[in-house]
């Protein structure tokens, strides 16, 4: 109830101001140009004052500058840059107003400014050349627009699935892999039959929503989303944007297009950021200093088909070119070479950032190379998500060692052992085990990290357990994880494990020394956290907030959270990387499909403190 009060106050304020209604939401193309005052001076920065329509200053307004015209780019390879070609990204910068409603941005020549604030309609401005100060007035949203503008997570928080918490977790586990689950796109009224068709389509793409649950989930979604639509006042407000935001800078590098998926990436000691387009087998080498990027096409063997050995589940997609499936990245501490998991092959990729040469290390076992890390001995470790294994690659000998993780049942053991037989069958005719709630046959080792003591930790998403491998003894031990959906994990400087519990909406710490788990509720409602990373130097855990269009930071010492609103709606993120040097944090916009993101464009995003 307390969460509703601010919404009510907002409505009263709105009524008092006597606004008229209209249908412009933050996502709408239709925006107002509201620059009401400007001064022209010679300056390298522009100061923007944001107010409401009465002239009251608005703190924590998000101000985004983007080029009026995107730099020309060579996209002559099926809409993408050819191999080895360098282009300039249309870099955008986002900052927030301070307590006085002011914000400074770099020179805004030939820039387009979008101003966004909670409860207000977006305004867009194209400043005249040489403008150094600018005032932008925002109109308040109508009550309906305000509630409709809330991000997915607060709407999702109100879905109870008839009080069946396990059913909701099943839904979240299987449907929030790729999408926000209560965005306007999902909240649209659908009949039960239309929902069932959605589930059938998604399972054909590879989702694992159990068939036995389809009917009841469809009925719950149809009924409960309608109830929310009819009673939107029950939807809690999202977290207010906070004053500290005026101390940060967000930079976005748009790369790829609406059909790309910028999955994981790597901050390389050479200063470049390497981003993988999972759907087009391309490696984007981004120079954050200049905004230039060079694309390298990942090679594949002659005869390899789209979808690799998994087969192409996306035959109806207009564009897809991924015989390898570039997934996760790690850098060698020895020579800086980059190791990449190609999830659609039995292989490991190596990229030399100096020669730009790829090397393919083929494996004869194991399925779905997933998340990858390299230890201090330059051993490459990665999870094999389908075959429930962990692989170790010795660079000196080019040998793979596979560690089997235990099956949870005889049935699961049989399924896992039959994978080579199943994969010997053509993908089009390959039988697939029917999905169930436990993910039988698919414990799915997912996240992996190397602890300071050299042990390798792995989270199994469907099995709700952790595995630890001692490289000294090759011993594999399992730890029950008392929460649902351990997805990606990281170790901090003290060797504590930080794990996101995907469908339980929790950050969890595991202390290997005493076996204790500690849970830390996220600062936003009903988030479904995909991944995290630890800034070991500063003791900060960064968590993906992919349902709330946020990135979340957790100070380990003070146990305080901060919420960073992201500059695009439906900003679905899957990876976080931290620059230990300056504390900047990076994430990529990898909604699937990317064209469902606001602006229809995947980006690499950096959040930087304005002053270290």
């Amino acid at each position: 109830m307390t969460r509703i009060i601010p919404a009510v106050l907002m409505l009263l304020l709105y009524a008092a101001l006597g606004h008229t209604t209209d249908n412009n939401t933050p996502d709408s193309d239709a925006t107002d140009s509201k620059a009401i005052d400007s001064r022209v001076m010679d300056s390298h920065t522009t100061e923007i004052l944001v107010t409401d329509h009465l002239g009251n200053t608005l703190p924590t307004a998000m101000v985004t500058a983007s080029p009026l015209v995107a730099p020309k780019a060579d996209l002559s390879d099926n809409g993408y840059p050819p191999h080895g070609v360098t282009n300039q990204a249309a870099v955008t910068v986002t900052r927030f107003t301070d307590a006085q409603g002011r914000v400074s941005l770099p020179s805004l020549q030939e820039q387009h400014i979008r101003v966004r604030a909670q409860g207000y309609r977006d305004a867009t401005v194209t400043p005249a050349a040489g403008v150094s100060t600018l005032t932008v007035a925002l109109d308040a949203m109508t009550p309906e627009q305000y509630i409709a503008s809330f991000p997915s997570n607060v709407w999702l928080s109100q879905l109870t699935f008839g009080g069946d918490a396990e059913l909701k977790k099943t839904f979240q586990l299987n449907c929030a892999f790729c999408h926000q689950q209560a965005s306007p796109f999902m909240r649209n009224e659908r009949t039960v039959e239309q929902w069932l068709a959605v589930f059938s389509r998604m399972n054909s793409y590879g989702a694992r929503l159990p068939g036995d649950d389809h009917q009841q989930i469809a009925e719950h979604l149809q009924r409960e989303l309608r109830e929310l639509r009819e009673n939107p006042q029950t939807v809690p407000e999202p977290k207010p944007w906070e004053a500290f935001l005026s101390e940060i800078d967000m930079t976005e590098w748009p790369i790829g297009d609406g059909f790309s998926q910028m999955h994981d990436f790597l901050l390389h000691p050479n200063g470049f950021i390497y981003v993988g387009d999972n759907l087009f087998d391309r490696l984007y080498e981004v120079d954050p200093a200049t905004g230039q990027y060079t694309v390298y096409k990942v090679p594949h063997r002659p005869g390899d088909k789209i979808g690799g050995i998994l087969g192409n589940r996306f035959t109806v997609f207009p564009k897809m070119d991924n015989a390898m499936g570039v997934h996760s990245f790690a850098v060698s501490p020895r020579d800086g070479n980059i190791f990449i998991t190609p999830s659609m092959q039995q292989a490991l990729l190596e990229f030399n950032p100096q020669t730009k040469a790829f090397t393919l290390h083929e494996m004869d076992a194991g399925y779905y190379p997933h998340t990858i890390r390299i230890d201090e001995q330059d051993r490459v470790w990665f999870t094999l998500a389908l075959s429930s294994q962990v692989a170790r690659f010795e660079r000196d000998t080019a040998q793979f060692t596979l560690y089997d993780l235990p099956a949870r049942s005889v049935k699961e053991w049989l399924i896992l052992k039959s994978l080579p037989l199943l994969f010997s069958i053509d993908p089009e005719n390959r039988p697939q085990p029917a999905p169930d709630r436990e993910g039988t046959g698919l414990p799915m080792p997912y996240g992996i990290d190397v602890a300071p003591d050299g042990r390798i930790w792995v989270a199994r998403l469907y099995a709700n357990d952790l595995a630890v491998i001692d490289p000294q003894t090759d011993q594999v031990s399992m730890v029950d994880f008392p929460y649902a959906g351990p997805r990606r994990l990281r170790a901090d400087a003290q060797g504590k494990l930080w794990v996101v519990a995907f469908q339980d909406s929790l950050l969890v710490k595991y202390d290997p020394d005493n076996g204790e788990f500690s849970e830390y509720p996220l600062p936003v409602l009903n988030e479904i956290p995909y991944a995290l990373n630890v800034d070991r130097q500063r003791g900060v855990v960064w968590v993906n907030g992919n349902q709330s269009d946020t990135l979340l930071s957790f100070d380990i010492a003070t146990e305080q959270w901060r919420v960073y609103p992201l500059p695009r709606q439906r900003f679905f993120t899957r990876d976080v990387e931290v620059d230990e040097e300056d504390g900047a944090v990076y994430t990529s916009n990898s909604h699937f499909p990317s064209w469902q993101t606001e602006g229809g464009q995947p980006t690499l995003l950096r959040i930087t403190p304005l002053s270290p």
């Binding site: 249908n23 996502d27 409709a148 009224e189 009949t191 109806v316 207009p318």
Partner: protein, 640 residues
């Protein structure tokens, strides 16, 4: 009750009460305008024929226009779409309609005997099909009582003339334009058929307004979609509105579907079509405002009041196909002057008709980008949060339908080869699913509204299409004319680098690849934002190589609309099975049907005359269906 309260109640209720009384009076008199009322509700308050006795309905009379005998050779290029109107007593109480060649015929409503006819002798040049959805009537306030043409029939013709005829004798009104007609935009500037007419004009407050049909597909720059308004007495032009004014590199955005008017508010509502060329937009960068829109203009001046664009940068030929339906939205004790617009893509938009604001939360749906060089598709398209789409626009390979495993496998294979990201997947050089295609979804038949409870009855097509753009430099390509049943439509889009090839998605057996029903009747609760029921519309028993003697209710493609009555009935033909049906508006159950000589791709109407209620439908077939033509007007009634 305080006086202040009385004043408040009066202010709030009187306009509605007056409107209701006017509406009731209009309805009681019959069917005075094309859509039943100026707001196109397709509704009659008559209840003499009702659920309890509809089974007794029988043919009252049949009239044949004589077109079949007179113009047999041209009948294959016609579609019969006319909905008659019943003139008020002062205007002669005739039942008046038009034939595909724009002949206007007045009949005795009780016997079907002809009273007069008028043939404008249209220019039949060009190959555009002939059709005429109806005529309009108005009493001319500037004419003296009993003066010739005090009561007028207005007709927009295939060859772009607006005629005014005397309602009593059918002769042209000498004082209107040039001896009874005025030339409309395009009559002289373009080749015959490039611009023509199909829907009737509308008249209110002394202004008569005409839209147009414009040649589709074949050119990058087609004629403009100019809407024209004339003085209803003199025929002098008052204003023009070009929906694409200021947009170079394009044309059309014309208003071929029926218009609606709100005389009290002084507004006319235009359902605008797609801009040219239909499937390629690189030469028309941006949204192409006011194409694919509902546009509200001031009747008197043509000044824009508001617009709502339901498709931005159209690449699918998603014209606004249906007459905007005007009604008073009643929800939570609040009455809002409203408009509901059906679209080919199967969405139902409910808008405030004074402002254009959506009465349901409007969401911006992200949509896929285009793969065509130079093409920039819109990033998002509007979609109301409710009601749900009338069609599920995804069709996955595993959804493939077939009568046998063999043709199902054929369909599955075809679907696997099509690009398909749901609604608004841009067509490209690769074969792409178009579902719904340009047939809709809903089409010009519109919907019938039971306004008091907000139930909207809609007939929709449910046929998947596929299409591709063919680079002209890469393939020798020749067009084959307009689309017809079962054939792939091939057309060179002159002025673009492409030709388009479009066709229904069907197996080698000629059966659709999407599961039936292939035509549906859907009842939508506008206030609740939900579908109440849906049922198959049409039987396929005559669509195979050999007709079978029993109905197979899998639904058929359908063109034409239906009407609802206070008798709890919904009458509709429209299907490819020669049936006129009566459905129960509450349940969707078929209560009655009658086999006509040919398909009736026209919206029926109903009226009471000399104490007897009639239901009338024009049956003459449709050239696109290719199932035969005719020149019938059927009237049904209960036994005398």
């Amino acid at each position: 009750m305080s006086s202040r309260f009385i004043h408040s109640v009066s202010c709030n209720l009187l306009p509605g009460l007056v409107l209701s009384l006017v509406a009731s009076a209009v309805h009681a008199a019959g069917w005075p305008v094309y859509g039943g009322d100026p707001g196109g509700r397709h509704y009659s308050t008559l209840a003499d024929i009702n659920r309890n006795n509809v089974d007794d309905l029988q043919v009252a009379w049949v009239f044949r226009s004589g077109d079949s005998a007179r113009d047999a050779a041209a009948m294959d290029n016609t579609s019969t779409q006319s909905t008659p109107i019943l003139l008020p007593e002062a205007a002669g109480s005739s039942l008046v309609y038009c034939t595909p060649f724009n002949r206007v015929i007045a009949l005795d409503p009780g016997s079907g005997e002809q009273r007069w006819d008028f043939d404008p002798q249209i220019n039949r040049g060009g190959d555009r099909p002939f059709r005429c959805r109806g005529v309009a009537y108005a009493q001319d306030a500037q004419s003296a009582a009993a003066e010739h043409c005090q009561h007028r029939i207005y007709l927009s013709t295939h060859d772009r003339h607006l005629w005014a005829l005397d309602a009593l004798d059918g002769r042209p009104c000498a004082g209107f334009g040039n001896s009874g007609s005025v030339a409309l935009y395009g009559a002289a500037e373009f080749a015959p058929g490039d611009v023509s007419n199909s829907s009737p004009p509308v008249i209110a407050n002394g202004v008569v307004i005409s839209g147009s049909t414009v040649i589709d597909f074949t050119r990058a720059q087609t004629p403009r979609g100019t809407v024209q308004a004339f003085n209803a007495h003199s025929g002098k032009p008052i204003w023009e509105f070009d929906p694409l004014a200021g947009h170079a590199g394009s044309g059309s955005a014309n208003v071929w579907a029926p218009l609606s008017v709100d005389a009290e508010q002084g507004l006319v509502f235009l359902p605008t079509s797609a801009p040219s060329p239909d499937y390629y937009g690189a030469g028309r960068v941006g949204d192409s405002r006011y194409a694919n829109s509902v546009v509200a203009l001031e009747l008197a001046t043509g000044k824009l009041r508001w617009h709502f664009q339901h498709v931005r940068h159209d690449l699918w030929d998603y014209d606004t196909p249906a007459q905007p339906i005007l009604f008073d939205w009643q929800r939570d004790g609040v009455s809002v002057p409203a408009l509901v617009q059906l679209t080919k893509q199967g969405l139902v938009f409910a808008l405030n008709r004074l402002t254009g604001e959506s009465l349901w939360e409007m969401t911006e749906q992200p949509v896929p980008p285009s793969q065509v060089p130079g093409e920039t598709a819109a990033l998002s398209q509007p979609k109301p949060i409710a009601p749900p789409p009338l069609l599920d626009s995804f069709l996955m390979p595993h959804d493939a339908w077939g009568l046998t495993p063999v043709d199902r496998a054929d369909c599955r294979k075809q679907l696997e080869s099509l690009h398909n990201l749901g609604l608004f997947t841009p067509i490209s050089e690769a074969p792409t699913l178009m579902y719904p295609g340009s047939l809709g979804g809903p089409n010009w038949g519109g919907g019938a509204l039971l306004a008091e409870r907000g139930t909207l009855l809609i007939n929709v097509n449910n046929i998947a299409f596929s299409g591709r753009l063919v680079p002209l430099a890469a393939e020798a390509f020749s067009g084959n004319g307009p689309p017809t049943a079962g054939k792939r439509f091939r057309v060179v889009m002159q002025g673009t680098p492409y030709a388009a090839e479009i066709g229904s998605l069907q197996s080698f057996l000629g059966l659709p690849c999407n599961p039936p029903p292939w035509g549906k009747l859907i009842a939508v609760d506008l206030y609740g934002g939900r579908i109440i029921w849906e049922t198959a519309l049409g039987s396929v028993h005559e669509m195979g190589p050999v007709p079978v003697p029993f109905h197979i209710e899998w639904g058929t493609p359908n063109l034409g609309g239906g009407i609802a009555t206070a008798g709890g009935l919904f009458f509709i033909a429209a299907t490819m099975d020669r049936q006129l049906r009566a459905f129960d508006v509450d349940s969707g159950a078929t209560l009655w049907r009658y086999t006509l000589p040919v398909d009736a791709t026209a919206t029926p109407m109903t009226y009471r005359y000399q104490g007897r209620q009639y239901v009338v439908v024009n049956a003459g077939g449709h050239h696109m269906f290719g199932r035969g033509s005719g020149d019938y007007l059927y009237a049904f009634g209960l036994p005398p």
